[in-house]
């Protein structure tokens, strides 16, 4: 389960030491935009040492490396891959080839470390006009891709439009990414809401993303994590309905019935799948018996 992904700059030791207590389902340890060129080395060493010495509990680790057109990305991977992060986030992902370049390099490092193939997954960050147009190509680039992620700040600069709180300017990109991800059967994450103090605006923005089909949302502030988690968690009503669906299916099976209805509505495969997803999330959030 990955509802929230929290960016933590790779040059902030206090936050890095506490990355797993901030409530996020995943943390993105950032070696790219948050770190100035002069600090790239020290941030890489710091993130490496954090991964080496700290066992983050109950939260996935994503490392955002530097773009492929810089001198840093391979050094980033050389240091980070041996420590087995859950995912690598290549920024400015523009095509399937771009993603495969990163994937192939990771593959070599995995082999060197004696890891099983595709141990470390990819979550390409799509933040250019070309990337949006190639979203499906990126999402289906290789087996290593587990999700794609929309970055609206760089994208709107590339689109030459103003980034607004209403986010009308990224409507197409959001829809395009959700469609591409679902077609490629991977997860899809929404761009952070950048006004740290506007918690109401955050919830509204997260609700919009959820309604469009996003799996979750990234955040640049720990203050946004709880709001995102709440929006992307199933409601009590949804959980109760999911239980009802599964109980109805079970009952029908026992009674040998083929087609079943709940409250006058036929329960078909999509409804069952949705109910299963809701119950999986319920278990992940609240715990429960296997």
């Amino acid at each position: 389960m990955r509802r929230s992904m929290l960016f933590i700059p790779g040059n902030t030791p206090n936050l890095l030491m506490n990355g797993d207590i901030l409530g996020a389902d995943a943390v993105i340890l950032d070696l790219e935009d948050a770190v100035s060129p002069a600090e790239k080395d020290s941030a890489r060493i710091l993130v490496r040492n954090i991964l080496k010495n700290l066992r983050y509990q109950g939260c996935e680790i994503i490392v955002r490396i530097n773009p492929v057109d810089t001198d840093f990305w391979q050094k980033d991977l050389d240091e980070i891959i041996p420590l087995k992060p859950d995912l690598i986030m290549p920024p400015k992902s523009s095509s399937g080839d771009y993603v495969r370049t990163v994937s192939d390099y990771i593959g070599k490092l995995e082999e060197k470390c004696g890891f099983e193939k595709n141990t470390v997954k990819l979550i390409p960050l799509i933040e250019t006009a070309l990337g949006v147009e190639n979203a499906y190509d990126i999402a289906s680039a290789c087996d290593r891709v587990a999700a794609i992620f929309l970055g609206a700040e760089d994208l709107t600069a590339d689109l030459r439009c103003v980034r607004t709180k209403e986010s009308r300017e990224i409507l197409y990109a959001r829809q395009r990414l959700v469609t591409a991800a679902r077609a490629a059967e991977v997860d899809v994450y929404d761009t952070p809401f950048t006004d740290v103090d506007d918690l109401e605006g955050l919830v509204k923005d997260a609700e919009t993303a959820k309604s469009m089909g996003f799996t979750g949302k990234a955040s640049i502030s720990p203050r946004h994590v709880d709001g995102i988690n709440t929006v992307f968690s199933p409601t009590e009503k949804e959980i109760a309905y999911a239980h009802e669906v599964m109980e109805t299916i079970e009952r029908a099976k026992k009674e040998g019935k083929g087609v079943v209805a709940l409250r006058g509505k036929m329960i078909d495969a999509p409804i069952v799948n949705r109910a299963k997803r809701v119950l999986e999330m319920e278990k992940a959030i609240f715990g429960g018996e296997d």
């Binding site: 936050l15 506490n18 207590i21 901030l22 409530g23 010495n53 700290l54 720990p222 203050r223």
Partner: protein, 470 residues
């Protein structure tokens, strides 16, 4: 008749202050105080030596006292808190006699019991008339409550009121009445308003602090104490204040009205009073301008003496009716003893203040502190200085786990309640292990055998000593 004298020098002469005597001060002017320095300068000028200074707190602004110690003017200090500048000098061994640390409740009680004798009290008063009716609620140096000074006024042989806002007799609504005052001195400034109270106390934005604050609020909620009539004290800084924000949200959501908020009062406690979370505030000290305003204008906001706040010499004190207190710590040991006196290098940088008074009086004492600070672990085998004994501490909240003190045969039920509330409960030894995994085990400090300070518990018994740093 008028008690007005020309200046501090004349007041000192009239009180008959002599070598070997004890003079006292309160700390409501905090780091903006001018009075302690002005008085000591005059004492030195008059050639008086061997003076013991009994001040409820010594701040960095009182740094000139270091030279008075070196010159033999001051040979003893008794206080409840000491800032790091003077604390550093004390730990380097500049004074022969050990500093006596008391608690905010122990200090007035020792005066009342006669174990701590004050020859002359100098009381900074933001407003006074010429007979010594005085208050901290109004005036250009308004500090709000002057609760720590009541015992000095009542128990000292001679009392000098020092004000920078002399008003015509009688000042109505005075906090300390004229019956205790011997002399009144008007000066230009008793303090720098910038150092006396802060503008508005801000809640931390540090995500780690906020996480601990949220845990603390959930601990209180799970304990079952967060109900109609609850009483609460929080500190003024960091995570303890942030916890108040979470508690306020729960209280408003459930319509809980508490009996009182207490402390060092901050804008946030005032906000909770005004939002209907409490019926009253019990105020021994104001931390910011909103607290001063509220104390002056709102009859539900009550000024109390340190004895009423936390003393052990009265028939009861407000801390005895306190449900929950949230406190900080620089170190906690595996027996839940808390250090708020010394820093990681062994130097004095604080003091008990009301820490051990409220810990002892409250039903639930929660310590909130990050697991590591500046690469040092919070939890250690033995606190460098025991400020508050472990028997008075119930829960230690860190960002990586919550330890419940079930030693001394208590809190077993509380621990179960916290586990049931899905809080990350662990043993104090686990916290120590986790902290050491992050920061390693610090090397032992090079301390000498020479005692530079004694720490007295609220009942006057010595619970620890502080050694000189080599």
């Amino acid at each position: 008749m008028s008690k007005l004298v020309e200046n501090i020098g004349e007041a000192i002469r009239k009180t008959g202050l002599k070598d070997g005597m004890t003079i006292s001060f309160h700390h409501h002017m905090r780091n903006g105080d001018h009075v302690l320095n002005m008085v000591l300068e005059e004492v030195a000028k008059q050639g008086i030596k061997d003076i013991t200074v009994n001040a409820s707190s010594i701040f960095d602004v009182h740094e000139p006292i270091i030279d008075h110690i070196k010159n033999g003017v001051v040979t003893g200090i008794e206080c409840n808190y000491m800032g790091s500048k003077v604390g550093h000098a004390i730990c380097e061994g500049i004074m022969e006699k050990p500093v006596i640390f008391r608690t905010h409740g122990g200090r007035p009680s020792d005066m009342e019991k006669g174990t701590s004798h004050i020859d002359v009290a100098f009381i900074a008063a933001p407003t006074s008339d010429d007979m010594g009716n005085c208050t901290g609620k109004i005036g250009k140096s308004a500090c709000g409550s002057i609760g720590y000074a009541f015992a000095d006024a009542m128990n000292a042989d001679k009392v000098v009121i020092v004000t920078d806002n002399l008003v015509p007799y009688p000042l109505t609504g005075a906090s300390i009445p004229e019956v205790y005052a011997d002399y009144v001195v008007a000066v230009d400034e008793i303090g720098d308003p910038k150092g006396i109270v802060s503008g508005t106390t801000k809640i931390t934005r540090d995500p780690v602090g906020l996480r601990m604050a949220e845990y603390a609020a959930r601990v209180i909620d799970a304990s079952g104490l967060l109900k109609e009539g609850v009483s609460l004290q929080t500190g003024a800084g960091g995570a303890t204040l942030a916890a108040a924000k979470f508690i306020k949200e729960i209280m408003l959501e459930r319509g809980i009205v508490g009996s009182f908020g207490m402390g060092g009062i901050t804008a946030y406690m005032v906000d909770m009073l005004e939002a209907g979370c409490f019926r009253s505030l019990i105020d021994v000290q104001c931390f910011d301008l909103d607290a001063v305003r509220s104390l002056r204008d709102d009859p539900r906001h009550m000024e109390v003496s340190a004895t009423q706040y936390a003393g052990v010499s009265g028939k009861s004190a407000a801390v005895d009716s306190l449900d929950v207190v949230l406190l900080g710590a620089t170190q906690v040991d595996v027996n839940f003893n808390v250090n708020v006196h010394t820093d990681s290098n062994g130097y004095i940088m604080g003091g008990s203040g009301g820490h051990s008074d409220t810990a002892a009086g409250s039903k639930l004492c929660i310590i909130i502190a990050p697991l590591t600070r500046a690469r040092l672990p919070l939890v250690v085998d033995r606190a460098l200085t025991i400020s508050t004994p472990g028997k008075d501490v119930d829960v230690v909240v860190t960002q990586r786990g919550i330890a419940v003190n079930t030693r001394y045969g208590k809190n077993k039920e509380l621990k179960e309640k916290l586990i049931a509330a899905h809080l990350p409960v662990c043993e104090i030894e686990d916290l120590k292990k986790k902290a050491e995994e992050l920061s390693g085990v610090p090397a032992s400090l090079p301390l000498s055998d020479r005692v530079v300070a004694k720490v007295l518990y609220r009942d006057g018994t010595e619970i620890d000593t502080i050694k000189a740093v080599k």
